[in-house]
């Protein structure tokens, strides 16, 4: 027994340190393995880094490495037709915008806004002033804000665009200026077969210059034919306009409009039950890069407040010559004519038809970027009253910058009769006027089409 105890003690003395040593060796081996693995990992990492460095060094220093592919903006939508135009089913499906103002960060407006100021001064004879027979009737010999416009425009969503224009201006002498809604409309942009639908209040696309705002006109005043047949404000209507640009080898835009018919000069019945219907065809040709010509024909048919038929037909033509490398056209020629057929009731209660015509033509030369000069000739009958008038208006325009413009013009008008222009004992048969115009743009303003 004693011997056994001695042997056990001896074994314990001999084996325990051995076991402990064996355990230490095992731990060391594990650590070594771990270190070896780590070393291998480091080696691999170093090799990868060296390889990358070598690759980068082998590239020219100036080339920026291609950035990581931008995050996909959105999923690709269901493939529309082969032409890329969505079909009716595509339109019915909900879709996501791809890049709608993706560049704009937080805190930025998602639409544009701008302010336009247009001030006009005119000096004329005393008898014209008395008769309120000047171009700006009732505001002769005054300097006044003709149009101060606040505009908002931009994309509503991927499918529609909207614009709202609120304007103020002096309609009659005095400190008061009225504020009105000039335009507020929505355009559906993603309809199939190359169509668009615009709805709301808008300047109808009838003829060339009707759709242009006062401050954007190439002259101080709207041509006489437009003012005589469509009134001072032009054809601004509430309703719908649909356009189609067919996929043809040449440009052709066809338009149909349906409106209330609120224009009190040409129409004025103001009900969709007897709507004002408009139509327009516009085409464009380029003769090399230097010459371009646009041609349009328009028509409008509606009813007067007396429920009498009123119809207008119009043509417009614009030509521009821009020499190679020029930033602006050297020569612009344009013309527009309106033919009016209107049923009227005479003093005897008989209904008759009045056929009347008016037109203008102008030429503008812009030899320098900031200076242009031109002349416009007007000839017009009156839609109901007898007689006619003609006028000639030379003008010069100066742009200190793209957003500021001054214009000086002289207008001589002769009318064939004085009866309609002889208020307060004055006379508007022969009119000489000197115009001055100052216009500015603050903020955004969309580019002007041709």
């Amino acid at each position: 027994m004693r011997g056994l105890i001695i042997v056990a003690v001896w074994l314990a003395i001999v084996l325990v340190p051995g076991l402990a040593a064996a355990q230490d060796a095992e731990a060391l081996r594990r650590e070594l393995d771990q270190l070896r693995r780590q070393q291998e990992q480091y080696q691999k990492a170093i090799e990868a880094l060296s390889e990358r460095l070598k690759r980068l060094e082998s590239q020219p220093a100036a080339v920026a490495p291609a950035p990581p592919a931008p995050a996909p903006v959105a999923q690709t939508p269901p493939a529309p037709g082969s032409s890329g135009t969505p079909g009716l089913l595509d339109l019915a499906r909900p879709r996501e915008p791809f890049a709608l103002y993706g560049q704009r960060g937080s805190g930025q407006l998602l639409f544009d806004m701008g302010v336009v100021g247009d001030f006009v001064g005119n000096i004329t004879q005393r008898n014209v002033d008395k008769a309120n027979a000047g171009t700006f009737a009732g505001r002769e010999n005054r300097f006044f804000p003709r149009e101060v416009e606040l505009s908002f425009f931009g994309q509503v969503d991927p499918y529609a665009r909207a614009e709202v224009r609120i304007e103020s201006g002096e309609d009659e002498p005095g400190a008061e200026t009225g504020v009105s809604l000039a335009e507020a409309n929505l355009t559906l942009l993603t309809l199939p077969w190359g169509t668009q639908l615009k709805m709301g209040q808008m300047r109808a696309r009838f003829g060339y210059s009707n759709q242009i705002h006062e401050h954007d006109l190439p002259w101080v005043d709207r041509p006489d034919a437009l003012r005589n047949f469509l009134g001072e404000e032009g054809l601004t209507e509430k309703g719908f306009e649909a356009t189609i640009v067919p996929d043809l080898p040449f440009y052709l835009e066809a338009l149909v409009g349906v409106f209330n018919g609120d224009n009190d000069v040409a129409f004025g019945y103001g009900k969709l039950s007897q709507p004002l219907v408009t139509a327009r065809l516009r085409t464009f040709f380029e003769l090399a890069d230097e010459h371009a010509i646009q041609f349009g024909v328009s028509g409008a048919s509606g009813q007067t407040p007396d429920r009498l038929r009123s119809q207008l037909a119009a043509f417009d033509l614009k030509y521009k010559y821009r020499p190679e490398g020029w930033l602006h056209p050297l020569l612009t020629l344009g013309s527009e004519g309106i033919y009016s057929i209107r049923r009227v009731e005479n003093d005897l209660g008989e209904k008759t038809t009045r056929d009347r015509f008016g037109w203008y033509a102008y030429a503008e030369v812009q030899p320098w970027r900031r200076w242009a000069g031109g002349v416009r000739y007007d000839w017009s009958q009156f839609p109901v009253d007898p007689g006619r008038e003609w006028a000639v208006e030379p003008y010069v325009t100066f742009w200190p910058s793209e957003f500021l413009r001054f214009r000086l013009a002289y207008k001589h008008t002769e009318r064939s009769q004085r009866e309609a222009f002889s208020e307060n004992g004055g006379s508007g048969r022969l009119v000489d006027e000197l115009f001055f115009q100052a216009s500015f743009i603050l903020g955004a303003h969309p580019a002007h089409p041709f």
Binding site: A62, V63, A66, L100, Y159, A292, A447, P449
Partner: protein, 304 residues
Amino acid sequence: MTRLARIVLAVIAVAALTGAVDAADKVRVVTTIPDLKSLTEAVGGDLVDVDSLTRGTQNFHEAEVRPSMMLKLRKADLLVENGADLDAWIDVAVQNANNATIVRGGRGRIEISRGVPLLEVPSTRVDRSMGDVHPLGNPHFSLDPGLAPTITQNILDGLLRVAPQHRAAFERNRAAFLARLDEQMGHWTKLMEPVRGAKVVVYHPDFIYFLTRFGLVQLGAVEDRPGIPPSPQHLVNLIRQMKEEGVKAILVEPWNDVKLANRLAEEAGAKAYVMATAVGAVKGADNYLAAIDFNINTLAKALR
């Protein structure tokens, strides 16, 4: 009358069919500026038919919106625009083109400035007393060859949206183009190395990306404020500064007042150089690489 109407209808039908046949062949791409046309052709190769709405000799800020632009846009599968307010006029052209695919937010619309680190981004309040300032930054980045990988990546993304079946070909084309660009870049860097740090004067601030890329310094601009004609006092100061700093070159765009640049250069003992501010801006700059090559060779000689 009926006969005439039939003839007109027949002509329209034939024309429409011709258009449809053309459409089936290639991806129709319209770009706002010619640099993007050249780069899109590099990525798209034979699979795309690319048209630019402007030419290299034009000032892209002030392009006139013509119905002929709308005709091209009407038929486009993809519209590639520069962005950063260089070609903001494109919205008016698109609105009148009646093409649902390329309206803002549509799948056929790609803005190239996405992912481009823009320079000269105003850090203080800006207004138009400073001239035609760009609140988003200088938009003239397209002729910086170092940004071509980003630009072509954006073009590739756009092409893949409208023609995903050609992914392999587009990627192969892009890689081949970037390889050619890399090769050229080594040559250009070597050419520009001796003139690194040289000072130049520009007419309009549209060279900043190019100058920065090749280590040149823009001492000043003929336009006191972008887009505004310079005042005589500014020109006097500029001439004095050019003389003091020994400036050898005024870089001018083909559409700008080259005569004024020449007069200034003469006064300051320098020379004015009409640069390839875009593909097609000068003779020989027929594609992207040729345009950069023209600018590099011009400057390397001018500043030597």
